[in-house]
């Protein structure tokens, strides 16, 4: 007997068993059939035969199969379910994994193919029945787990069991509803006569009584199917089953990225702004008024194209035509859904700006008549009702971008259901107040499945990236901007709104501006996140480093609103080609030449501690920037207060009054100055480190080498052959002396403000201006001007280096570097002409530090120049340092720009925190 026949012969299921068993039990008890004890109709005699015909179609049936679905086969024992499914698999219409059968699972858990519990002895029957019941229970449990898993993965699953009892079907209807997949049923309506014939031929016949009972059950149940919540119900006679055509529907939400997409945020009837935006994106109308992009890009709307704003009808007509012409896509949205139902004639409360659309319709009707308006309404209605909850764009078959209106959960992506539609229209609306697990209502914090989710609905002041989600609703209708997100470019194009159309005094944008200084949302950061910077693009930071950075900002730094900029780390040059140098200016110059930079600025590097100086003209001037009165703030490169509070107050006050007296604030019409500076002497901040490391090691080396040298000299005097050793140790002692002198050169005593000097080298910002694009010469000259205003400030020596073929500037630079470093100076910082520069679209290192030969003793040890040591040190790896330098620089200038634009604290802080997180990611600190 073939496997197939076998399966057919032994086909059974838990439920017919239990029903049968109960009936049998009843017979044993009473000697005649009756209702089973659980109140459920197990069968009804004499079900009118013709009733089933009412739900049976005689046409050649076509079955349309969605991508993910549960398909139940229903039919009495011997109705041919398994055989038919096997044929579908053999013909390649269904995949083997798409079919699950209760028999197979029973076999899997127990090895039992069939169990006939009918015995003359009631005791035995009872035991066997219970045993069978237990096996069936386990088998179904596992099978249902498999079905659920497949539903979660949006797969199609055919279930081969009798399904002749309502509860066995409705549990799948419920499962489908819960997991957002449609549930279909195909009932095989096979005449009783055939069923009985087939049973007689089986190896283990089920017996006449059971077949008859199955049949009665089947007949009594099929008329209910339409009411049980199936997406499709098919009741098929054997000849129909034979001719059944199955069509797999394409995924309704999938589209190719193709030449690119431009997703447009909430338009809300801002038609003029939309046309400007389309122009900027490069869309041009054809003769019929349909907009096309020369590259074949696709327009996508994130919904809410109408209401609140001035020209809803024009905007909707635009989209209606684009969609009809296949030149646009649109997702469903809250206003869209409400308007759709209004257009269906439902009772809907047209408020929250929807009343403006109604007024426009009335106006339209007055101008064009009733017929025209009905026509229009019909078109709009159809467009809106057809809008899917979300769209998925694929690249090389991989789902890269999801567009939805208000939000989506990862497990919804790719599925459709009413609940998903609601979620996508409104976002998370219910806070999990009484659940045991704290629920974040910000759905985007939970997004982990990798796709970029582009959404609108909830206006933000800027396009906001959080956790691979991108909000592009910048509240055009509230006087903000209309934003387009371009993919795969991953860039934004924005158009300023011409006015605040909604004129809502409590508009989301106004509320956001009021909450400008609110504590940043931890959830956006804690799992790792990325920042979109103008100069470098997207910069991602990993969770572990973010946590370390949050530890820092929670314990050590100045208040978050004062922390406006974290200075970037600086890369060293590639190692020198010269045999006895580790670093040399030639490599820095070569780097910039290779990046097509024509002019460099070389600045003397002070050996002190990096500091950020934020100074306000008066305490009140700080209000618009940090939300409370403040003199200013001086902090270290890791965000810690640089000075003790009293000294900081004195220094800030001195700076303020010096600049005031010099007329600086008036001259530049600014209430605020932000400086990137070095504060000397070195021991001001580093005394502990110098004492416990540098001085300690110097002392150890001097003692060790002096003692050994003295003893060797005694040995030499006594005639031991140690001349060579004496020479060696004389030199080693000399190294130790150089080392001990090297670090002392950067230290001197200070008393209060006395002895402290601040050397600014970037004038980062004034009120309303960031100077991050300026020339370094400008920065240096401006620093000179500042130094002239205050004794606390000092200028920095610099030289301009022209990189023409015939210029001797490079040699002059090298000579300068050599002479100052031989005197023990730390070295030079070599910068390209402008503070921010790109070459071939990529950011150029904003600075390269070239440290002196002598200075490097305190970094690489007193004997680093020994050829053996130097050879190995030259294998140092600088790639990570260089990458970090670029990313931290980009984050730094991004945060300054956001600070100057007075963006929400959270927006500025995401840059600062990312820079701190990058700093937490260990890079060789000697670089």
């Amino acid at each position: 007997m073939s496997d197939q026949q076998k399966r057919e012969h032994e086909m059974s299921s838990q439920n017919d068993m239990s029903a049968d068993a109960k009936n049998q039990q009843a017979k044993l008890d009473d000697g005649h059939a009756k209702r089973s004890g659980d109140g459920r109709d197990t069968y009804t005699a004499n079900e009118p035969q013709n009733q089933s015909r009412a739900v049976t179609s005689d046409e050649a049936p076509v079955l349309e199969l969605p991508v993910g679905a549960i398909v139940l086969l229903m039919g009495a024992s011997n109705s041919g379910k398994t055989t038919w499914l096997q044929q579908q698999i053999e013909q390649g219409i269904l995949q083997p994994d798409e079919v699950v059968s209760s028999d197979r699972f029973r076999e899997m858990v127990s090895g039992l193919e069939h169990l006939d519990w009918r015995r003359p002895s009631r005791d035995e029957s009872e035991v066997l029945y219970q045993q069978y019941h237990l096996i069936s229970d386990r088998a179904f449990h596992i099978m249902d787990e498999v079905v659920q898993a497949r539903c979660r993965l949006n797969q199609m699953t055919w279930i081969d069991a009798t399904h002749i009892h309502e509860a066995d079907r409705t549990k799948y209807v419920e499962m489908g509803r819960r997991l957002h997949v449609p549930v279909l049923i195909i009932a095989l309506d096979v005449p009783e006569k055939i069923l009985l014939e087939r049973d007689r031929d089986r190896k283990h016949p089920r017996g006449r009584d059971r077949i008859k009972q199955h049949y009665r059950n089947f007949r009594s149940e099929i008329h209910r199917l339409k009411k049980e919540g199936f997406q499709q119900v098919h009741i098929l006679r054997p000849h129909q089953l034979a001719t059944l055509q199955m069509v797999r529907l394409p995924h309704p939400l999938l589209h190719e990225v193709g030449a690119g997409i431009d997703v447009i945020g909430d338009i809300h009837g801002c038609y003029e702004e939309m046309l400007v935006l389309l122009g900027q994106l490069g869309y041009v109308p054809d003769e019929a008024g349909i907009y096309h992009h020369a590259d074949g890009r696709m327009l996508v709307s994130a919904g809410d194209v109408m209401s609140r704003g001035p020209r809803s009808i024009d905007t909707m007509r635009f989209w209606q035509r684009q969609l009809a012409a296949g030149q646009g896509l649109m997702v469903d949205s809250n206003h869209g859904w409400k308007v759709a139902r209004y257009l269906q004639g439902r009772q809907v409360n047209m408020t929250h700006g929807d009343e403006l659309f109604v007024a426009e319709l009335q106006q339209y009707e007055q101008e064009h008549g009733k017929e025209a308006v009905e026509q229009l309404k019909g078109e709009f209605r159809n467009m809106l009702l057809a809008a899917p909850s979300h769209l998925i764009f694929t690249k090389n078959g991989v789902r890269c971008v999801v567009v939805t209106h208000a939000g989506i959960r990862d497990h919804h992506i790719g599925k459709q259901s009413n609940r998903i539609s609601d979620y996508c229209r409104y976002g998370e609306t219910v806070a999990g107040q009484h659940s045991d697990k704290p629920i974040r209502t910000d759905w985007f914090n939970e997004h982990q499945s990798g796709e970029l989710i582009v959404w609108g609905h909830d206006p933000r002041l800027q396009p906001t990236i959080a956790n691979r989600t991108i909000n592009i609703d910048q509240g055009a209708v509230f006087g903000g901007q209309l934003t387009a997100y371009r993919y795969p470019e991953q860039s934004f194009v924005s158009v300023e709104a011409k006015q605040d159309y909604a004129a809502d005094p409590d508009s989301p944008l106004i509320r956001l501006r009021k909450r400008r200084f609110a504590a940043p949302d931890l959830g956006q950061f804690i799992q790792g996140y990325s920042v979109l910077t103008d100069s470098y693009g997207e910069i991602g930071v990993r969770a572990e480093f973010v946590k370390a950075a949050i530890d820092t900002t929670s314990h050590y730094t100045v208040p978050l609103e004062e922390l406006v900029y974290i200075p970037p780390t600086m890369a060293p040059p590639h190692v020198s080609a010269l045999p006895d140098y580790l670093e040399h200016p030639a490599e820095a110059v070569a780097y910039y030449r290779s990046r097509n930079v024509k002019r460099l600025v070389a600045e003397k590097k002070h050996m002190g501690s990096r500091a950020i100086v934020l100074l306000f003209r008066n305490e009140q001037a700080a209000l618009p920037y940090i939300g409370r009165p403040l003199q200013g703030s001086i902090y270290t490169r890791t965000g810690r207060a640089f000075f003790q509070p009293q000294l900081e107050r004195e220094i800030l006050e001195r700076l303020r009054s010096d600049l005031e007296q010099a007329g600086y604030f008036d001259r530049y019409q600014t209430d605020m100055v932000l400086l990137d500076a070095e504060i000397v002497p070195w021991n001001l901040k580093a005394r502990e480190l110098i004492a416990s490391q540098y001085a300690h090691v110097a002392e150890a080396a001097l003692h060790d080498r002096q003692t050994i040298l003295n003893t060797l000299q005694t040995a030499e005097a006594n005639g031991r052959p140690v001349q060579e050793w004496v020479g060696e140790w004389t030199e080693l002692l000399q190294h130790a002396n150089v080392f001990a002198e090297a670090f002392q050169a950067y230290c001197w005593d200070t008393d209060g403000m006395e002895g402290i000097r601040i050397a600014p080298f970037h004038i980062l910002a004034h009120q309303n201006h960031a100077f991050t694009e300026h020339e370094h010469v400008w920065h240096m000259e401006h620093a000179k001007e500042l130094a002239a205003c205050s004794d606390l400030l000092m200028e920095t020596e610099y030289k301009v280096v022209e990189l023409d073929e015939d210029s001797e500037d490079e040699q002059r630079l090298i000579d300068w570097w050599t002479s100052i470093t031989e005197e023990g100076h730390e070295g030079l910082v070599i910068k390209p002409e402008y503070m921010t520069m790109h070459a071939s679209g990529r950011l150029v290192q904003p600075a390269i530090k070239v440290r002196g030969r002598k200075y490097l003793h305190i970094i690489y040890g007193m004997d680093y120049l020994h050829p053996d040591n130097l050879k190995r040190l030259k294998q140092r790896k600088t790639r990570k340092k260089e990458r970090h330098a670029l990313m931290e620089f980009a984050l730094g200038i991004e945060s300054i720009e956001r600070f100057v634009r007075k963006e929400p604290l959270e927006r500025m802080h995401e840059c600062v925190l990312a820079a701190l997180a990058l700093e937490a990611d260990a890079v060789d600190p000697r670089l």
Binding site: Q433, D436, P438, I439, A518, A519, P520, D521, L522, G523, K547, A548, I550, D551, S554, H555, Y556, P559, S609, T636, R637, T638, R640, N683, R687, E688, L689, A691, Q693, A695, H696, V697, E699, A700, A701, L702, H703, D704, T707, I708, T711, L712, T714, A715, N718, R720, V722, W725, Q744, C747, I858, I859, G861, D863, N869, R872, L873, E919, P925, R926
Partner: protein, 521 residues
């Protein structure tokens, strides 16, 4: 790193045979990447001086060490300081002498005590002079410690942090070397990250004939082996009566858990205060250093005891912590709703643990920004889980300077000794987040009462903890609390915790904020 041995007198020259090194030749070998050299600057029948010195490879030395991400990695005293490394480099050169196995002709000199003058250095040690001296005087040496002169162009340090040791005494060469091989690593500061079991065997071997009688035996063993399992192993190899004596004199397990914790707290606060700009050591490394630092602190206290100096008492009464926990637990227990509790700034989770055991508490969130403290809290909670606790707190990374919807609308929120660690300027934003965004039914806050510092005899300017940004009087605290309570419609009551003084009140003050109107809409 050098060792100089000098002997003057009858037969001093025999020492060269015990060393098995020809006094007329130079010894120059490569040993594990280090250059080991021996020379006799002075050699006569009645006068001998031998210099042993080692130059390790500075680059090799630091490869793969845990400090590799420290900017001062190459600024390393390991290259110079006398340490266990020095001993291991010398081990093979001194094999004959250490084993007492010279050529048969000289075997009789192995047991011969010579007058010895020994110098070695530089020593980098955290032990005070008197303890260093004591370790050698106990063996019958005269000891002189030498500190090099230092002078810097600016105010840096009082005196050098390195020393050289000079010993004089009469002993056999073998005994001398064995003692040095045990005691040099004991003096040295190096933080051992790994000490193997072979160190136990070494201690037994080199300690033979002198260590058991050494009055600081337990201290030496602890400094050498450091870890409890190794110490237990070492104890097994001791004669029973010594082992028992060892138990009473030496603590195998350092102090108590509580002591170690508070030491650690202080250590961390100290780190926060000392954080210098040029030292961007990353967090984890910092933590490792802190562990080492705290062990040192514990040890220096023991050392102080050993040198019979009175241990310094800290200002805080040790039980105050406990009293605070009790007061908070009692307060939470009496609240009408206390199912869900958030312990903000939970640190190592001690309070969270107690909160979880209150009847009716179903959930405790221990929120803490510090990953390091968090690890210790996790250990604590895992132990609770093992013991089968009904409610085990859950740890979450969180910070008062950020908004997190997870902390909205819990029954009880606790800030136990948290606010004084926050700059005053940052408090208004924190309080707005707490009272407006999180809206707990009850918020409990404790903080030191500054007035009470008078009882601790702290002078006006000093605070109880290095990281405290402020300490408030009762009036100050109550004024602030009244102000905050108005942010979100709360009423506030106050209590004190700890021993009461009529004049100054109690050491800790506690504010209990209750949301007006009870159930929220």
């Amino acid at each position: 790193m050098y060792l100089k041995i000098r002997s003057v007198g009858q037969d001093a020259g025999m020492i060269s045979h015990l060393l098995a090194k020809n006094p007329h030749n130079l010894y120059d070998r490569d040993e594990k990447g280090a250059r080991v050299r021996i020379v006799y600057p002075v050699f006569a029948e009645q006068e001998l001086e031998v210099l042993l010195f080692v130059t390790p490879d500075p680059v090799e030395l630091v490869k793969g060490t845990p400090d590799s991400y420290d900017i001062t990695q190459y600024i390393n005293d390991r290259e110079f300081a006398v340490s266990s490394l020095f001993c291991s480099y010398l081990r093979s050169a001194l094999g004959t002498a250490l084993n007492g196995k010279p050529k048969a002709d000289y075997a009789e000199w192995v047991q011969h005590p010579f007058p010895m003058e020994v110098s070695f250095g530089p020593v980098a040690s955290n032990l005070p002079d008197d303890v260093m001296t004591l370790l050698f005087t106990s063996l019958g040496y005269d000891v002189r410690l030498e500190r090099p002169e230092t002078s810097y162009s600016f105010k840096l340090k009082e005196r050098s942090t390195i020393r050289a040791v000079h010993l004089t005494g009469r002993t056999t060469l073998q005994q001398l070397l064995r003692q040095l091989f045990v005691l040099m690593p004991v003096l040295d500061d190096y933080k051992h990250y790994y000490i193997g079991e072979e160190e136990v065997e070494k201690l037994h071997r080199y300690g033979e004939g002198w260590l058991l009688e050494h009055p600081q035996h337990a201290f030496i063993a602890r400094r050498s082996l450091r870890f409890a399992p190794l110490l237990r192993l070492y104890r097994q190899g001791l004669p029973e009566e010594v082992a028992q004596d060892f138990d009473t004199r030496g603590r195998f397990v350092r102090a108590t858990d509580e002591d170690a914790d508070s030491q650690l707290d202080n250590g961390i606060a100290e780190q926060a205060m000392n954080e210098t700009e040029a030292s961007p050591s990353n967090l984890l490394d910092g933590s490792i250093n802190e562990i080492a630092k705290s062990e040192n602190t514990v040890e220096s206290e023991e050392v102080a005891e050993a040198a019979s100096e009175p241990a310094q008492k800290t200002a805080k009464a040790p039980r105050l912590n406990e009293l605070r926990y009790e007061a908070i637990v009692a307060c939470v227990g009496e609240l009408e709703s206390h199912r869900r509790v958030v312990d903000f700034g939970a640190g190592e989770g001690k309070l969270s643990e107690r909160l979880a055991s209150i009847a009716g508490v179903e959930q405790v969130w221990a929120v803490e920004p510090s990953a390091y403290a968090g690890v210790r809290a996790l250990d604590r909670f895992a132990a609770m889980e093992e013991k089968g606790a009904n409610v085990v707190p859950q740890l979450a990374t969180g910070s008062l300077f950020y908004r997190d919807e997870r902390w909205s609308r819990h029954d009880v929120m606790i800030l136990c000794e948290v606010i004084e660690h926050i700059n005053e300027a940052r408090l208004p934003m924190v309080m707005r987040t707490l009272f407006n965004d999180y809206q707990p039914q009850t918020l409990i806050m404790t903080t030191p009462n500054r007035e009470y510092n008078a009882i601790y005899e702290l002078d006006e300017q000093r605070m109880r903890h290095a990281d405290h940004r402020f300490e408030w009087t009762r009036a100050e605290f109550q004024t602030f609390c009244q102000q905050w309570s108005e942010y979100g419609g709360y009423q506030v009551t106050f209590e004190g915790i700890g021993e009461r003084s009529d004049e100054y009140g109690q050491p800790t003050q506690m504010a209990i904020f209750q949301r007006i109107g009870g159930d929220r809409g």
